[in-house]
């Protein structure tokens, strides 16, 4: 029996579903076709979610690589226009699901810019943002490195990466109540203060994590198989990065120390002591080295943020003072397992009619944001994550657009893959570290 095929305008179309390679080879033997078009994805384990690659192959060499996206488009930007400014955090956090805190922070910074309250955000809230962002960066890079190993056929990096990420997610769950998509950062600050014991919990992570990152380094840094698959693969120089608008570890692996945390600091990053790691190789291995080094730098920042939160910033406010913007209640986990604030309930239900009206209006209708537009960006794990937010003066955004680094960086696929071997396509795409939730939004 031979693999089924049908004649189409562009030639013979073979449908391969796995386990039928022998039949395909039998059918193809004796054929003169040199060009082969391979459709990789959208449901391929090594394409990071639902990315589709169309590869034009000449033997094992890729002559053309085209990317098809949009399979995960959920219209988050449109939905934002129908929900309040506060509800927006719940929506944007779901875009790039490996860096939820970054999405929330970029969005909230843009909203705060529109409100003109950037300077009024309490220092403790900023430190908590920095703490959670850097923890998220570690977990995101762990996934990037882990899944990369998996795609090259090694399961150990993946198991290591997932284990380490799990530790971070546990801490995030402890702090915010959710492992992912936590909607923790809100316009004006963060939704709740760190719970009791959070500092110790992060402290434990800080004790274990350096050793775990070292383990990852031991496993991969000088691994001959890993080097063979990553060194001099998917090279993209600085000129290419600039033209394609590429930011993040890919840009820094090409030698430019461009990091918004240093060059255009936000959330008080200028007060933290850390380095921006770079490599000059511009290849997959360089990007890996940058990511690992960034995790080590992130740990430094987490440590400093933790010291501040436990020391000078202890007991400070985590939401802006303006009662017309801040969420009315400071919630805490109640005995029923839900977020509650008995004091606040007693106040609005038994004490003050005005407080009840205020609470009702603020929660259902939301606050108004003066008309105008603002762009705020943070250095996400994949590069510059920007939020362009437009207000018409109402209680809902007029337009929310996210400049997601995965979306832009994915345009580098043809530049890094064409002319290379088909096996290196996997390395190239994985080194971009695209998250389709962010690409398609």
């Amino acid at each position: 029996m031979s693999a089924p095929y049908e004649e189409a305008t562009e030639g013979k179309v073979y449908t391969v579903s796995g386990n039928d390679w022998t039949e395909l080879v039998a059918t193809l033997s004796g054929q003169q076709d040199e060009q082969l078009v391979v459709n990789m994805g959208p449901q391929h384990p090594s394409t990071h979610g639902v990315l589709r690659l169309i590869l034009n192959l000449d033997g094992e060499t890729v002559t053309e690589a085209r990317t098809v996206i949009g399979y995960l488009h959920t219209g988050i930007e449109k939905t934002c226009e129908y929900r309040t400014w506060t509800q927006g955090t719940t929506l944007v956090t779901r875009m790039d699901y490996l860096s939820p805190i970054f999405n929330e922070t970029a969005y909230c910074m843009a909203v705060e810019k529109l409100l003109g309250i950037t300077e009024q955000i309490p220092e403790r809230a900023q430190a908590i943002r920095v703490l959670t962002m850097e923890l998220t960066r570690i977990s995101s890079h762990m996934v990037a490195i882990g899944t990369f190993g998996m795609e090259l056929g090694a399961t150990t990096p993946f198991l290591f990466g997932s284990r380490e990420r799990e530790m971070v997610l546990d801490v995030m769950e402890y702090i915010t109540g959710l492992r992912m998509n936590m909607a923790y950062v809100r316009p004006g600050g963060v939704s709740v203060d760190l719970p009791a014991g959070a500092v110790d919990k992060v402290g434990e992570l800080l004790k274990v994590m350096p050793k775990r990152i070292k383990d990852m380094r031991k496993l991969l840094d000088a691994n001959p198989v890993y080097l063979a698959r990553t060194k001099d693969v998917a090279y993209l120089d600085l000129t290419g990065c600039m033209a394609l608008g590429i930011t993040g570890p890919m840009l820094r692996a090409a030698g430019l120390p461009w990091d918004l945390r240093k060059s255009q600091p936000y959330c008080g990053y200028e007060t933290y002591d850390f380095d921006v790691p770079t490599e000059k190789t511009g290849d997959v291995y360089g990007r890996y080295l940058v990511r690992v080094a960034e995790m080590e730098e992130s740990l430094k920042i987490v440590e400093q943020a933790l010291d501040r939160l436990a020391g000078p910033l202890k007991g400070g406010r985590v939401m802006v003072d303006d009662k017309k913007i801040g969420w009315p209640a400071q919630l805490a986990l109640g005995p029923d397992g839900l977020g509650n604030s008995p004091d606040h309930i007693a106040h609005i239900m038994g004490g003050s009619m005005e407080a009840l009206i205020h609470h009702f209006k603020l929660v259902t209708e939301g606050f108004r944001v003066p008309a105008g537009q603002a762009y705020a960006s943070v250095e996400g794990p994949r590069g510059e994550l920007g939020a362009h937010v437009v207000s018409d003066g109402g209680t809902k955004p007029y337009r929310v657009h996210f400049r997601d680094p995965s979306f832009t960086n994915l345009q580098a696929v043809p530049a890094t893959c064409e002319g290379g071997m088909v096996a290196d396509v996997i390395s190239a795409v994985a080194s971009i570290d695209p998250v389709m939730g962010g690409v398609d939004r």
């Binding site: 449109k78 003109g116 008309a371 537009q373 362009h388 437009v390 003066g393 400049r403 832009t408 345009q411």
Partner: protein, 225 residues
């Protein structure tokens, strides 16, 4: 809301109708004053402050001395500089912004659109965010086109990164970027009708049939407006 956030003379106020299903009045409680004013069309006089003046001066010099001919309005708002550029001169302006050593906005952060149905003659805006790594500056460039003639020249030749961004803006807003190498839909399916991020396109859009009952699109279930 304080009025100093709305400098200039605002346009006609728009009433936000229909909170909690009420369609006959702008405000169901009278408490919050649910009448909002549209964004005024700002134009900032000089001096702009900070490096904004330098950028404007250098662009004027690069353009040959007449900034107002290419840049319709300059807006400085919330610490951000925006050039509203005539679409005919867009490529020229972008090329100077990228190439001139004194400007050098070598990194573009992409294109997105905004639909302002009430701005007659310039309903569709393409917004470009540029960043200069050399000088550590940021700039926003806006080009507008009327809904009846949705054409803006493509800037892929200047910033190759705009390839996908312009496709996305075409997909969502229907702005045709003339000269784009392959202006096709990128997020929506190839055979999709309409451009979903436009204000006249409903959220959800497609009524869902469930057990014989028709569930309206999300934005029409309860009037969130």
């Amino acid at each position: 809301m304080s009025t100093d956030n709305l400098p200039g003379v605002p346009e006609e106020p728009i009433a936000r109708l229909g909170m909690f299903g009420a369609q006959d009045s702008g405000d169901t409680s009278g408490y919050g004053g649910l009448v909002v004013r549209r964004a005024p069309r700002l134009s900032t006089p000089r001096p702009y402050g900070g490096y904004f003046d330098t950028v404007a001066d250098e662009l004027e010099r690069a353009l040959g001395g007449d900034l107002a001919d290419a840049v319709e309005r300059v807006v400085v708002d919330r610490g951000e500089l925006t050039f509203h550029v005539k679409r005919e001169r867009l490529l020229e302006v972008l090329r100077h912004l990228r190439d001139d050593p004194a400007l050098r906005f070598e990194l573009s952060l992409g294109v997105s659109g905004v639909h302002y149905p009430h701005l007659e003659g310039e309903e569709l805006h393409a917004v470009y965010h540029l960043c200069s790594i050399t000088h550590n500056r940021r700039l926003r460039v806006e080009a507008a086109c009327p809904d009846t003639d949705r054409h803006i020249p493509s800037s892929v030749s200047i910033y190759p990164t705009h390839d996908w961004h312009e496709r996305e803006t075409w997909d969502f807003f229907g702005i045709v970027f003339d000269g784009h190498p392959a202006l096709t839909r990128i997020m929506m399916p190839d055979d999709w009708d309409g451009h979903p991020q436009r204000k006249d396109y409903p959220l959800g859009g497609i009524p869902v049939d469930y057990r014989g009952a028709e569930i309206p699109p999300p934005d029409q279930r309860r009037s969130y407006k």
